[in-house]
């Protein structure tokens, strides 16, 4: 599904994002990428949805070599990879429904399909009752669920979650991780970037640990070791 071969990202000759990272994530896997701040976790996530280009190495997603992906092909990639961030990235002037519909509108999806898809993804994240609320009328956890719903509208094969619980309390964090697990059970590959020890330990899934941009450990059913 996702294959990285000797991937390095240098922001400057002296500033290394990731260094010679090689890994393989199989379809349907749930992988947590952990590490302290500045170890290259987010850089690795950005490389997966082509927000950053690697300085060296090769990246393949679903057999597609995106190492030197052309600008005009990025939208196609982004429709196959859902992305969730710590700060939710919701439009404050749009309702829950509109925020999710927006993702479909900009991709040229027809209104009838939008009317069909939005309630479906909202029910997956248990927000079908709050579709007319604005983001500021929701809790942090609910906002993150809206963001996840939005990431699911294109039925992505991969969902990359970059610190999705970073702004949430323990209870909301658990809810989000449970939701990601549920999505994973439907067959979506999940790449979770986090430094939340409790979540990682609770998941009991594969854990890749980064240190100074390098993979220091890669353990099936691993635990947070730092």
């Amino acid at each position: 599904m996702i294959r990285l071969k000797n991937v390095s990202k240098l922001y400057h000759p002296n500033i290394v994002g990731v260094d010679e990272v090689s890994l393989h994530i199989r379809p349907g896997e749930f992988v947590s990428i952990v590490g302290q701040s500045g170890t290259g976790k987010s850089t690795l996530a950005k490389l997966l949805f082509a927000e950053e280009r690697p300085s060296r190495g090769k990246i393949e997603i679903g057999g597609w070599d995106i190492t030197d992906i052309r600008d005009r092909d990025i939208p196609t990639l982004r429709r196959q990879i859902g992305v969730v961030f710590q700060d939710f990235k919701l439009l404050q002037k749009k309702t829950v429904y509109e925020n999710i519909a927006f993702a479909l509108q900009v991709a040229g999806v027809t209104p009838s399909r939008i009317r069909d898809v939005v309630p479906r993804v909202l029910s997956i994240v248990n927000l079908d009752e709050k579709l007319h609320r604005y983001p500021k009328q929701l809790s942090g956890g609910e906002q993150q669920r809206v963001a996840i719903a939005r990431a699911l509208v294109h039925s992505p094969k991969v969902l990359v979650a970059d610190e999705p619980t970073g702004n949430l309390d323990t209870l909301n964090s658990r809810e989000i991780v449970d939701l990601l697990s549920k999505i994973n059970e439907f067959g979506t590959t999940i790449v979770l970037v986090t430094h939340d020890r409790e979540i990682v330990n609770r998941l009991r899934k594969r854990v890749i640990t980064l240190e100074d941009g390098k993979i220091s450990s890669d353990v099936e059913e691993g635990r947070y070791k730092l």
Partner: protein, 304 residues
């Protein structure tokens, strides 16, 4: 495609309304540029008309000796008419010249008394020659040095209209140069303002743009609203220019007609016949310029 086009148009309209004052300033600058260019066009039409009128009035009067035979006059007329530069030759006989002189000086006792004293008609026949353009008079005057009638010619009277025309051209050229410089300045500011309108538009929509990129909106979908908005602003500017130009022409044309002795300057006619070409051309050029400026701003500030 239809759905996307509708959404792009909607986003473009949102850009316009959310930055209403900036849109207004952009339109004002584009409009100022267009009005300056159109004023130059009006000036061009008026100049050409003025030159036509002046050229129409230019003539050379050739006064023959009072003893000149009619056959000489006839052959002089035939000779002049054979010249490509001559538009018309009018003959005034000695008697007609005498009558005209009397009419002109009616009431001037002294002059009439002097004429009476002479006892005979002192005037010879006169030829009034009209040319196609002011530059042709030099050739016509030279042609009259033909030995066949040179000795019979008493006087050649040619007012220096060429100088008048040169002066008209010189003045209008100077005003035109100033107008072109002014248009260039306005255009420069228009480009800068378009650039900044797009830049601010990108800044205001940075969140939406970021999310658009995130969820896989095509580059075209992100860029198109900005381009469309600028096309819309260009169209509005040209529309306003048309809306201002025609009423203004309707007001100023009668004044110019009066100045040109009741003859039509043909401003409205010119703008009616060439309106599509003039304003259509201006719209296309404006669109090209604004698109260039928009692309520049997007390349600098819109990372897609």
């Amino acid at each position: 495609m239809f759905v996307s086009s509708y959404r792009v148009t909607k986003f473009a309209a949102q850009n316009f309304w959310r930055n209403f004052w900036l849109s207004l300033i952009t339109i004002s600058m584009l409009l100022l540029t267009l009005l300056t260019v159109n004023t130059l066009l009006v000036m061009n039409v008026i100049t050409e008309r003025a030159i036509d009128l002046v050229e129409d009035r230019i003539e050379v009067s050739v006064y023959f000796q009072d003893y000149t035979e009619d056959t000489t006059i006839t052959s002089a007329v035939a000779y002049l008419r054979s010249l490509a530069q001559v538009r018309d030759v009018q003959t005034i006989s000695a008697d007609e010249a005498y009558e005209q002189f009397l009419e002109r000086h009616e009431g001037d006792e002294d002059i009439l008394a002097s004429l009476e004293e002479l006892g005979e008609n002192p005037f010879g026949p006169t030829l009034v020659i009209k040319a196609y353009s002011a530059e042709d008079f030099e050739i016509i005057i030279d042609a009259l040095d033909n030995p066949q009638f040179a000795d019979e010619i008493r006087e050649k009277d040619f007012s220096n209209y060429e100088e008048v025309i040169d002066r008209i051209r010189e003045t209008t050229d100077r005003v035109r140069g100033f107008g072109i410089a002014l248009s260039a300045i306005f255009l420069f500011f228009a480009i800068l303002i378009v650039f900044n309108t797009v830049r601010i538009g990108i800044f205001i929509h940075r969140e939406e743009i970021g999310i658009m990129r995130l969820v896989g909106a095509s580059n075209w979908f992100i860029k198109a609203p900005f381009l469309l908005e600028m096309i819309f602003l260009s169209l509005m500017s040209v529309g306003l220019a048309v809306g201002i130009m025609y009423p203004v022409l309707a007001i100023i044309e009668p004044r110019f007609n009066l100045y040109f002795g009741g003859q039509s300057v043909g401003l409205i006619q010119y703008f009616s016949e060439n309106g599509l070409l003039i304003f259509g051309g201006q719209f296309l050029i404006l669109v090209l310029i604004t698109l260039f400026s928009t692309s520049l701003a997007m390349r600098k500030f819109l990372k897609v």
